[in-house]
């Protein structure tokens, strides 16, 4: 599969034919119509670091995801000499099985789990493109109440809803955000839209940053057609054209700190296939930008020993948008893998902060979620084409924290708030109504003690006495672990992303969000990265 957006109509036709085969939907749009997507930039890898070395740059960025990529573009546009370091592979490569995706494009090979109220796997991407490689590119803007609260809490009007809209416009244009096209939505989304319309709810086809989407339905494996506006095809090639230097396959393990001033980072080359450690790289820089994500950034700060200087909030306030899922069986074929992976959503007036949207997953995950194991395994296999799904996430009141184990892995704890559990339950009932209004029949939820339901009311009754320990959980939106604040007494960085406690250290990823967003964080991470990059460039 290509690691770049095809650049000619012939390349596109070939990519579509190779990618979709029998999944091709009629009338797919002309991909990449505006030339938004560009070939992934070249990057040095493990083999390009044959021996220990030391280099000096103006700015070094740690992490090549949406935060690091957008900061890199802002810096290079200002003429700042910038080096970007990335732990993941120098060339992304996608296959249609999750084992491969997790191995190469998930932090800690996808094995991060938060303990606390319940065991909850937490996913975060890696590679040049970070989580944008393996997400569905849902591109919602945060609601007014969230951003205006940020502005009030930080006494900074530039963080308010109205003030940030031009930056959201700019980012949206660059990654090609648009409403999912009806011709590539697929029945898994269309069924939800029918349900929304039947119930008169607000919602419909969702905004996504996928200007070249042809509806493969497997965004979570990595975009097989190169049609997603992921950071490797948008920000990084533009920054590279302006001079960005990229070294991948290196893991940053320490910060160079001298008398309260950050002077650079220490990294080691990691072989992308074997995980073997190679040469060490020492980068001295005037400024260091950490963009390793809301787990990776505080994990590094704790593992490197720098956290102590950054105050008591370093790694605290982890929020993740927890939620749950319904897999439903229909009388007709849905084929959830045809069309946009996650392309529909709705809001319910009684459930502010709850965002339900399309669910799609690999076959074994669908079958396990719906409980088709053992005697029902074969039945489940046969039902796969008639399965549809919807998940919901809540803007959480619960919180957790990130630390580092001795070997450098993330140590995660998360405590659920009762209010969140209640909203998840109520949200599931509304999701059930939408699915059935759209044409679904039998409802399955991955919650212990809850049997298949044939009506939302029956589901609601079964959910009443369930606790969070009964839920099979999953979260993919870590944020807020090094939050912005007025001072070090309440957070880690200031309004521009500069660390309170260490000079020359900046953070540009979802860790700086002052609170839970309530919407998928990719667009906001890019906004924040751009903002931080520009502030750093302007700081001289």
């Amino acid at each position: 599969m290509p690691d770049h957006a095809p650049q000619s109509p012939e390349e596109w036709r070939r990519a579509i034919a190779e990618t979709l085969g029998p999944c091709a939907l009629p009338g797919y749009p002309t991909p990449n119509p505006l030339g938004l997507l560009q070939p992934a930039p070249p990057a040095r890898g493990f083999l390009d670091l044959p021996s220990d070395s030391e280099i000096s740059v103006e700015v070094v960025i740690v992490g090549g995801g949406p935060g690091g990529g957008s900061a890199a573009l802002a810096l290079t546009q200002a003429g700042v000499q910038t080096l970007l370091l990335e732990e993941g592979p120098a060339r992304s490569h996608f296959r249609k099985n999750y084992a491969h995706t997790a191995r190469y494009h998930m932090q800690e090979a996808g094995t991060m789990v938060a303990r606390g109220s319940a065991m909850m796997p937490i996913a975060a991407g890696r590679g040049l493109g970070g989580s944008s490689l393996v997400n569905s590119a849902l591109s919602f803007r945060p609601p007014r109440r969230v951003l205006d609260q940020w502005a009030a809490d930080l006494d900074d009007p530039s963080l308010g809803f109205d003030a940030l809209q031009p930056l959201y416009d700019e980012v949206s244009e660059l990654v090609g955000v648009g409403i999912t096209r009806a011709e590539i939505s697929g029945e898994n989304n269309d069924l939800i839209v029918r349900g929304i319309q039947a119930l008169g709810l607000e919602g419909g086809l969702a905004p996504r940053g996928t200007p070249g989407c042809i509806g493969c339905g497997v965004c979570y494996f990595g975009c097989p057609s190169g049609g997603k506006g992921s950071t490797n095809l948008t920000y990084l090639p533009r920054a590279h054209a302006l001079g960005l230097d990229i070294q991948a396959e290196v893991k940053v393990e320490g910060l160079i700190v001298e008398n309260g001033v950050v002077r650079g980072v220490e990294a080691v080359a990691i072989h992308p296939d074997t995980g073997a450690r190679g040469a060490r790289l020492r980068v001295r820089a005037k400024h260091v930008v950490l963009s390793a994500g809301a787990v990776g950034t505080p994990r590094l700060l704790w593992h490197s020993g720098a956290a102590a200087a950054l105050g008591a909030h370093t790694g605290e306030h982890l929020q993740v948008h927890p939620g749950s899922t319904i897999v439903a069986i229909c009388d007709h074929e849905v084929e959830m893998w045809k069309g946009a992976t996650q392309g529909a959503y709705f809001h319910h007036p009684d459930l502010p902060g709850v965002l339900p949207h399309t669910f799609s997953a690999p076959p074994e995950a669908c079958l396990v979620a719906a409980g088709f194991l053992g005697d029902r395994w074969q039945e489940g296999l046969a039902l796969l084409p008639r399965m549809c799904g919807m998940l919901l996430m809540v803007s959480d009141k619960g919180e957790g924290r990130v630390r580092a184990f001795g070997d450098g892995r993330a140590d995660l704890v998360y405590t659920f708030a009762d209010e969140d559990v209640d909203r998840i339950k109520r949200g599931l009932v509304e999701v059930a109504r939408v699915l059935q209004a759209g044409g679904a029949r039998d409802l399955y939820v991955p919650i212990h003690g809850v049997q298949m339901s044939q009506s939302p009311e029956a589901l609601a009754k079964q959910l009443t006495d369930r606790t969070i320990k009964d839920f099979t959980l999953y979260a993919a939106h870590p944020m807020g672990t090094c939050r912005m604040s007025r001072d070090i007494g309440s957070g880690v960085v200031d309004r521009s992303g500069r660390a309170h406690g260490l000079r020359n250290l900046w953070l540009a990823d979802a860790s700086v969000f002052p609170s839970s967003l309530g919407v998928n964080p990719q667009l906001s991470t890019m906004v924040m990265g751009t903002r931080v990059g520009r502030a750093l460039a302007a700081s001289g």
Binding site: K96, A102, R103, M112, G275, W337, K338, E364, G374, Q378
Partner: protein
């Protein structure tokens, strides 16, 4: 065999991590075909008794039948799991092996014999019972193991093309 709550939580943490991903399986699938080894080839991380437990759990969770004839017990998932263990840190490897022993001997209390020695129907009853267990930690450990083996099963070269008949984008390729 009696496990302390602390040990059980450790097992769940190790196995639960794998629920999210099984990314480490990539280490196996790149360069080595776990499904294509001689039957008498030695395991590298598993003992033969542990391999039998893996086969029993796979057979219980993914029985062959009319839709896909190849059952989990015949899909060489012990080889898959052996490779997985090799790629894990020592602590996680030990905990997962401990989980296998707990399953093997826990079946004596529930079903009257070791898991690997039980008839298939009893194996399935035991494993499905764990997946519906009242203790979240027990459910979590069992579910983690099943999900992990499921990813191996659905990417087995005999199974993947059949899955692709439904999941038509070339799943498992």
């Amino acid at each position: 065999m009696k496990l302390s709550r602390r040990t059980l939580l450790g097992i769940v943490a190790a196995a639960g991590a794998l629920t999210a991903a099984t990314g480490l399986v990539g280490a196996i699938t790149v360069g080595t075909q776990w499904w294509d080894q001689p039957a008498d080839a030695p395991f590298e991380a598993l003992e033969s008794e542990e391999a039998a437990v893996v086969r029993a759990v796979a057979a219980a969770a993914f029985p062959g039948g009319a839709t896909i004839a190849l059952g989990g017990g015949e899909a060489e998932l012990d080889r898959f799991f052996d490779g997985l263990l090799l790629s894990l840190p020592e602590m996680q490897r030990s905990l997962l092996k401990l989980l296998l022993h707990a399953l093997e001997h826990g079946a004596i209390l529930a079903e009257g014999d070791r898991l690997s020695a039980l008839p298939e129907v009893a194996q399935r009853a035991f494993v499905m019972g764990l997946l519906q267990h009242e203790l979240a930690e027990v459910r979590g450990a069992a579910m983690s193991l099943v999900v992990l083996l499921g990813m191996g099963y659905t990417t087995h070269p005999t199974v993947a093309p059949m899955i692709s008949a439904w999941h038509r984008c070339g799943y498992g390729s």
